[in-house]
């Protein structure tokens, strides 16, 4: 029983690491947004206020997937439902 519990926990840790990998893609997307916004700000400095607020909204919206990954990783590590199910039904 302990061996299978250890397997479940180690797989959960690997899953958490994989879930956190999407931070790389999220950062890439955010960098694209900010680069484009700075470019258009340099082209049209009089519209920079509108561009800045739109940039913040875009950055926040694309950050959502990264935050979801973080929440999934935290659930995997600290509140894993599989461990409870295993302890309840198997043992």
């Amino acid at each position: 029983m302990e061996a299978s519990l250890a397997t479940i926990i180690s797989v959960a840790h690997i899953a958490a690491a994989v879930a956190l990998l999407n931070g790389a893609f999220t950062t890439f997307g955010q960098a694209k947004i900010v680069a484009q916004a700075i470019e258009s700000m340099a082209r049209q400095p009089e519209a920079s206020d509108d561009i800045r607020s739109a940039m913040f909204i875009g950055v926040a919206l694309s950050e959502t997937s990264g935050i979801y990954g973080l929440v999934i990783a935290i659930i995997m590590l600290f509140a894993n439902p599989l461990v409870n199910i295993f302890i309840k039904f198997v043992s």
Partner: protein, 224 residues
């Protein structure tokens, strides 16, 4: 760090009420904010037509937020501004609260979900009030087959809004707790100030701004 401490358990009419760290800290922040509000009210006993000194600062702050809401929502819908001023002040001061090494109430999913649910109910209310039937009809656009997808899209709004704020504040809390737990006491003297300044003040302000402006965008989308 992840577990919310439970201070007391009170029984009211046979129902257990758990007074957790989150509730306690929320009440501390609420009492501080109410105290500041009462002090400002006493200090500004008589409003002058031409403001001077302290009244200037208060009027500038309120006017700045009113202009922000006016620019986002337009004149007709901007009567919702006081609620969002409250949300802004509460979320930002709870981010600042963790500068003192205490747990911010927004690092608990319950608080952020309550705030986002308030914004969502405001969205539904304002949509029904200003667009009446058209708001309900927009759920069936472009075809009645799309009703489940539209409904899920609407219901995902408060969830994503609250998860964003919760994840950001919680990640800052986790990183700072790890730093305090792992480093020797020599490193805990000057360096955490920088970390607190970044994770609590800058990220806190940015996430508060984003929380408020996204709620305003949802309301604008529903009510116009």
């Amino acid at each position: 760090m992840l577990n919310v401490d439970n201070y007391w358990i009170i029984e009211i009419a046979g129902v257990e009420v758990w007074i957790t760290e989150t509730i306690f800290n929320t009440w501390v922040i609420m009492s501080i904010l109410i105290l500041i509000a009462v002090m400002i009210r006493i200090g500004l006993n008589s409003f002058k037509t031409i403001p001077t000194g302290f009244q200037n600062i208060i009027e500038a702050a309120v006017e700045m937020f009113d202009n922000f809401v006016n620019n986002t929502l337009g004149e007709k819908l901007s009567y919702i501004a006081p609620w969002f001023f409250m949300v802004f002040v509460f979320v930002f001061s709870s981010s600042l609260f963790s500068v003192f090494g205490l747990r911010a109430p927004t690092a608990d999913f319950v608080t952020t979900f309550a705030l986002a649910l308030g914004g969502f109910l405001g969205m539904v209310f304002m949509g029904l009030r200003h667009r009446k039937g058209k708001f309900l009809k927009s759920l069936f656009e472009p075809n009645f087959v799309f009703f489940p997808i539209n409904l899920i899209g609407e219901l995902a709004k408060p969830v994503s809004l609250s998860f964003r704020l919760f994840g950001n504040v919680l990640s800052g809390t986790i990183i700072l707790t790890l730093y305090y737990a792992l480093t020797p006491i020599f490193f805990q003297i000057g360096i955490p100030a920088l970390l607190h300044a970044f994770f609590d003040v800058i990220i806190g302000f940015l996430q508060t701004y984003i929380f408020v402006i996204l709620s305003l965008m949802y309301i604008k989308e529903a009510a116009e």
